[in-house]
């Protein structure tokens, strides 16, 4: 099975082996015809209408605004519905440095996102702490507290890099198995294992 998205040719991506390996792993056990086709339909829908939760803390957020403006126009790919409520968003787009004071806020917003949810780390700061890595109050990368799907390096990344990263997320979604939740990251029990105090409240 090949993963194709409309916006970009397969040979233009630089990491096809990675995604091929992912597909191979997922298909190793075989897929039910009905469920498999239903998966395809759902994934087609999700991947073409990815709604970001804006989480811009600094410079990268301004580049993200450029993406929304007329020249780069991310509406072409279905990314334009930037939400400010985690309840309505598909993925969290971390744009900028995350510091100690912000960490619990970001974690809470991630927990509030509805499944299936994804995380994109944009820019050097979100990827690794960037130029502020050695600071006393900067997180050395958001992957310390969130599971990251796509990393977009740059300081700030150019709009083209943003698009490349977003398309990588689209490709990842295209191969996921929605029924059975093979590559959904956070399970219910895992959440409670991490937040034992929430067990009584949500159940």
């Amino acid at each position: 099975m090949e993963v194709n998205i409309k916006s970009m040719k397969r040979e233009d991506f630089k990491d096809n082996e990675y995604i091929d390996k992912l597909v191979e792993e997922l298909n190793a056990t075989g897929a039910n015809v009905v469920v498999g086709n239903l998966d395809k339909l759902i994934n087609w829908g999700i991947s073409n209408s990815l709604w970001p939760l804006c989480f811009g803390t600094s410079c990268c957020a301004i580049e993200f605004m450029s993406l929304g403006a007329a020249r780069y126009d991310m509406a072409r790919f279905g990314f334009e519905v930037a939400r400010n409520s985690p309840r309505q968003a598909d993925y969290i787009m971390v744009q900028g440095t995350i510091v100690h004071r912000m960490a619990p806020v970001m974690r809470r917003l991630y927990d509030q996102l509805a499944e299936p949810k994804y995380v994109i780390a944009c820019g050097g700061c979100a990827v690794s702490g960037g130029p502020f890595k050695n600071s006393y109050c900067v997180l050395p990368g958001v992957d310390k507290i969130l599971p990251v799907d796509v990393y977009i390096p740059g300081c700030p990344p150019r709009p083209e890099a943003f698009f490349y990263g977003l398309m990588q997320l689209q490709r990842k979604i295209r191969v996921q198995k929605f029924f059975g939740g093979v590559n959904r990251k956070e399970k219910r029990e895992e959440f409670f294992a991490e937040h034992p105090e929430e067990r009584g409240k949500i159940d």
């Binding site: 600094s58 450029s66 403006a69 400010n84 510091v99 004071r101 960490a103 502020f132 600071s135 109050c137």
Partner: protein, 545 residues
């Protein structure tokens, strides 16, 4: 100078003069500081009416604060006052926040970084760090081990609690516990992740119905500790931080830091580099004001205007892209000049921009400025009198919207600005609309500056040739100011003669801007908080640093 010296000497016999600085410097003992400060401000012959910068210092054997005062009435004369704490174990300094309101926030910053407590300050909380943070990071003996301050994923508690230190007649200081809000206040939380705060700022707002009673600014959601980071890096290595503070004034901020280092080293920047720097500064100002226009409009629901503003901004970014190699975080100025020569298309592109701007500005005014909704939402909203603007040190377009002549390019000219013909835009509306209009008119003035320079870029070197390979500043301290897009940006450097600075302080204009949110918003509807914030136009990473 000498008569000012005599006047200062007459205030108090304990004042000592420090020789060898770039401006007049005095040292005042803490017990006399408040009296001396009030004389310096209120004596008509001295009238130091602006508190420009408050720099906390740790000299290892003592802690203290450097205050930079400016007198607007006497040609923007500067005075540096050094106040040293008597006791390093339990450091106290008398607060001057009742004289200069700008100190309300500035002194909280010093407390956060150095642990110096200010006597009679009404609200001595941390400014940028979590309230359960251990230690004061800018002290030289700060323990940065992650065990002391791990990444905490719990919320902060006791956010309503604050303290105040008061002194009785015998000089005994006692601690008084206070609350930020009154017991029956209804507090609405606004931010830190909110699309209309222009970043990650948090306002805790006490409301009575829909009317705002008090705004409590909670900052620090993007505090990256830049000032501490600079202490471990060499001078060329610290330059890039300025681009990432106020990313909409990247060129100006970096220009300022370079100027401060060049001043300390005595480097003369070649004429060509000076012209390029000024042109880049003005292009940056245009791009910043266009963004501000777009965001103000979008906050009022006028999304179309946002697209218009960004259309022209892209054109400016293309110019940066070609010459500097990046759309944002350009890293263009270096010590002694600029890093690369202009792109061959530079003049053509700038001329193309200048050709369309007058027509486009008219379009903006037609789309947004004259709109009845915009006028109703901005006019007579967020009033800030000239006296308050001076007291809170509100510089930049926001200060000039209150008719305060504070343009650093005019009042303390630097680089080649004295040779250029441009007007300082002053409006006396004192409201959000005036601040917005100053920005739009400043785009015209920036275009005027570019017109004068675009055909007159002299040939020559782009970097001074006598910049040493290893840059070591002589022992001493320097303060340099510049007009950034949002106000007067200042850099303080203290050096002990090493390769790395002993202390660097960035005096950001936006930190003062956010300080007037409480004053401007009180009495208005909660919906106006958004427009007042948009018209003040603060950039959060510049506040938090």
């Amino acid at each position: 100078m000498s008569d000012i010296k005599d006047l200062i000497k007459a205030i108090n016999e304990n004042i000592t003069f420090i020789e060898g600085g770039e401006c007049l410097e005095i040292q005042v003992p803490d017990k006399d500081w408040h009296d001396v400060a009030s004389q310096l401000k209120n004596d008509d012959r001295l009238s130091f009416d602006v508190l420009t910068a408050v720099v906390g210092m740790d000299w290892k054997e003592s802690l203290g604060v450097m205050y930079y005062l400016t007198s607007t009435k006497r040609g923007w004369d500067m005075l540096c006052v050094k106040v040293v704490c008597d006791d390093i174990k339990n450091p106290f300094i008398h607060s001057v926040s009742d004289l200069w309101k700008v100190a309300l926030f500035q002194e909280r910053e010093v407390y956060d970084f150095f642990g110096i407590k200010f006597i009679n300050h009404p609200d001595m909380r941390r400014m940028f760090l979590r309230n359960d943070w251990v230690g004061h990071p800018l002290r030289k003996d700060y323990d940065a081990s992650p065990e002391k301050n791990p990444i905490r994923l719990n919320d902060e508690i006791n956010e309503d609690d604050t303290v105040s230190y008061v002194e009785d007649a015998n000089g005994k200081v006692s601690k008084i516990a206070k609350k930020v809000f009154e017991a029956d206040d209804y507090v609405v939380n606004f931010g830190p992740v909110h699309p209309s705060t222009h970043g990650v700022m948090r306002f805790r707002t006490a409301v009575d119905g829909e009317v705002i009673k008090k705004v409590d600014v909670v900052s620090g959601y993007i505090h990256r500790g830049i000032e501490k980071l600079t202490e471990g890096l060499t001078y060329p290595q610290i330059l890039h931080f300025t681009d990432r503070m106020d990313y909409m004034s990247a060129h100006q901020n970096r220009h300022c830091l370079c100027m401060c280092i060049e001043k300390a080293l005595g480097i003369e920047v070649p004429r060509r580099a000076q012209v390029i720097r000024v042109m880049m500064d003005e292009l940056m100002r245009i791009s910043s004001h266009l963004l501000s226009f777009g965001c103000t409009a979008m906050d009022l629901g006028a999304t179309t205007a946002f697209f218009y503003g960004f259309r022209e901004r892209e054109q400016v970014l293309d110019i940066f892209d070609k010459t500097c190699g990046a759309r944002m975080s350009m890293n263009y100025n270096v010590i002694g000049g600029v890093i690369a020569d202009l792109h061959p298309d530079f003049q053509k592109d700038v001329k193309a921009l200048l050709a369309i701007m007058p027509e486009r500005l008219k379009e903006y005014h037609r789309v947004f400025s004259g709109n009845i909704i915009a006028k109703n939402r901005l006019k007579k909203v967020g009033m800030l009198s000239k006296e308050d603007a001076i007291n809170y040190c509100i510089t930049g377009p926001s200060g000039r919207g209150s008719n305060w002549s504070c343009d650093c390019r005019k009042v303390r000219p630097y680089s080649i600005y004295p040779e250029l013909k441009f007007d300082e835009v002053l409006l006396d509306g004192c409201d959000s609309y005036a601040r917005y209009m100053v920005r739009m008119l400043e785009i015209e003035q920036s275009c005027r500056i570019l017109e004068q320079l675009v055909d007159n870029i002299p040939e020559g070197d782009i970097r001074a040739l006598n910049v040493p390979k290893i840059i070591k500043l002589p022992a001493g301290h320097w303060y340099q100011q510049i007009e950034a897009s949002r106000g007067t940006f200042g850099v303080y450097i203290e050096s002990t003669g090493e390769k790395t600075p002993y202390r660097v302080h960035f005096q950001s204009p936006c930190f003062n801007l956010v300080g007037v949110m409480d004053l401007c918003c009180s009495g208005h509807m909660i919906a106006d908080l958004v427009t007042i914030g948009a018209a003040l136009d603060f950039v959060i990473p510049d506040i938090d640093r």
